[in-house]
């Protein structure tokens, strides 16, 4: 079973979900929020953010710290109120609704488990609050623990659990009340690398299984690329770009996205009548509008063997090499473009530190960013 079979809506670009009759699990319209800083100034956390989920999407809010991603999440959960704008959950406006009445649940960064309660009472908390009867709660808690792989751990105390187990309890607790939308605030940042990768896969599988929307906040671009149906890249309180991981990686709309998501070589280009011209005089055909632009070359697009047809070439001295097992990462110092990064498949001749090599990139299908290079 692939996600394409079950949740085609999740992979549709924004705007085409109008065909689905179901209301969107989450819609944010022109959200604005600013804080007063201790120094007496104001800090704009959200500067006109609009976002709409197709049903059952896994959307990641990605950005550096202070970009507004956590504030955005907290306006959805109800812990922050907007200065202007609307939040709609499942089609109804919740902008003025306090947190405890909103049909969303959150997995907190440091889990925020109730230390004085057992695992079962933590997981059953929402149902206990809702006044459900004891047997129903017990059954649901059992199901939830089974779901997150902690079956039979009802009676444990929180302190007896490892970090990864606490993470799972937090997840089970947030899902127990069957929320319309699950919010996850950097939930994996406290786990070690192996466990984090395992949880990434499990979370993604869980989201498919449950068929509810996930809003996942992270500053880890790899995590975002691995898990998301769509990624919203945030900076300075605005969405820089939103789209599928491949779209964002291959065709970033601006320099910030290109730079933040993955490694990149950004070269200045002058476009005149259908041809892009690099500073060293090489040129290539492009449909881009005339003017100053930036050429994006991902490190893996460069290779030592020239491709068929027209190619761009970059000659320089190898300044650094890192061997990662599958690849050699190299830093190439070129006279015309400064330091360039390349990722070469291992297996070929080992690039030698200080030696001079030429790398090639096919001159077709190059992505230009409509911004002058930094």
């Amino acid at each position: 079973m692939t996600p394409f079979d079950t949740y085609p809506a999740g992979l549709l670009p924004a705007g085409s979900q109008d065909r689905t009759p179901m209301p969107s699990p989450l819609e944010i319209i022109d959200a604005r929020k600013s804080f007063r800083t201790p120094e007496g100034g104001t800090m704009t956390a959200l500067d006109g953010i609009s976002l709409k989920l197709a049903s059952a999407e896994f959307v990641t809010l990605l950005g550096p710290s202070g970009c507004g991603k956590t504030t955005l999440l907290r306006t959805i959960s109800g812990f922050e109120t907007l200065d202007a704008g609307e939040v709609l959950i499942d089609g109804s406006a919740v902008t003025q609704m306090p947190a405890h009445r909103r049909p969303v649940n959150t997995v907190f960064q440091r889990y925020a488990l109730f230390g004085h309660m057992s695992v079962a009472r933590n997981v059953g908390y929402a149902l206990e609050i809702a006044g459900r009867d004891k047997r129903e709660i017990r059954t649901r808690v059992g199901e939830m623990l089974e779901l997150v792989g902690l079956a039979g751990m009802e009676k444990r105390s929180i302190q007896q659990l490892s970090g990864g187990q606490q993470q799972r309890v937090a997840l089970a607790r947030a899902l127990a009340a069957k929320p319309k939308l699950l919010l996850l605030d950097e939930p994996l940042s406290a786990l070690d690398k192996n466990l984090r990768q395992k949880m990434q896969q499990e979370l993604k599988a869980l989201q498919r299984e449950l068929g509810i929307g996930f809003i996942f906040v992270t500053h880890d671009q790899e995590e975002a690329l691995t898990m998301s149906d769509r990624i919203a890249v945030l900076a300075h309180g605005q969405i820089q770009q939103i789209g599928a991981p491949t779209e964002l990686y291959q065709t970033p709309a601006n320099l910030f996205t290109a730079d933040f998501l993955g490694e990149s070589n950004l070269l200045p280009v002058t476009v005149t009548s259908g041809r892009g011209c690099l500073p060293d005089g090489q040129s290539f055909a492009t449909p881009h509008a005339p003017g100053e632009a930036t050429l994006l070359l991902r490190p893996e697009a460069l290779s030592v063997t020239p491709p068929d047809g027209h190619a761009l070439s970059f000659t320089g001295t190898i300044r650094e090499t890192y061997y990662t097992g599958t690849d050699h990462q190299i830093a190439l110092e070129t006279p015309a473009h400064g330091t360039m990064h390349a990722l070469l498949r291992s297996g070929g001749a080992l690039p030698c530190l200080g030696s001079e090599i030429t790398l090639y990139a096919p001159a077709q299908g190059l992505h230009l960013i409509d911004e002058a290079a930094p």
């Binding site: 405890h100 960064q109 440091r110 109730f114 908390y125 609050i129």
Partner: protein, 272 residues
Amino acid sequence: MILRRLLSLYGLLFFVFVYAPILLVVIYSFNANTLNMMIWDGFTLDWYRQLFGMETSLTQSATFVDSTDQLWGAVRTSLIVALSTSVFSTVCGTALALAVARYRFRLARFYRTLMMVPMIMPDIVLGIALLIFFITIGMNLSMLTIIIGQSTFLISYVFVTVSARLAEVDTSVEEASADLGATPAQTFRKVTLPGIAPGILGGWLLAFIISMDDLVITYFIAGTGNTTLPIHIWGLLRRGIKPEINAIATLMLLFTLVIAAAGLYFRSRRQK
């Protein structure tokens, strides 16, 4: 090596200095010598028997009073005062600590500092101030004035104890509770209160012990006819030190230790 020995010796001397006088009081309380309690004259429980009004072999001249009614009256007054004051201070101190810790309002830090002041205020100043205050507003000195007066500074102790605990309780736990559908009242009852309960209990016990023990401030605002235990003992001492006092002191010590131990016990149970 020598330095370590010296340090150990210093540590030992320190504890001797602190605890020897207290230990002596306990030992003297079992001394049968009626005339000079510094000289050991055999073991006896007579001083305790005397306090509880039982038959003893003691002569009249050896004791302070022929009846211990006054003593037990003072104990009763002290217990009533300590219980009322500590409960009142705990409720007010906890509420204040919650307000200062959880709500953002102007001058919050100023109020926090203001709450510390009664603890460093000289007892005599506070005693005089309270006395003048009660007289000015025309309130007769009674058990009520003791309770009000002691509460003014005991609230601070509870405030500090509960605040320390509150600082440890992660606010995200309260947010998690709200997120899972709990109203602010439910969150307070099910999450916040259990979280700070050890602090509240600790603050309450502290307030209780300090109230039982307070002499200076209470002395100013007690008036006549409301003798607390410390005031009663002070009164006894003015007629010379008699061995009976050792028994009273030992019982008070025991009482305080039991309460402190109970506090520590509950605290460790909560933190497990």
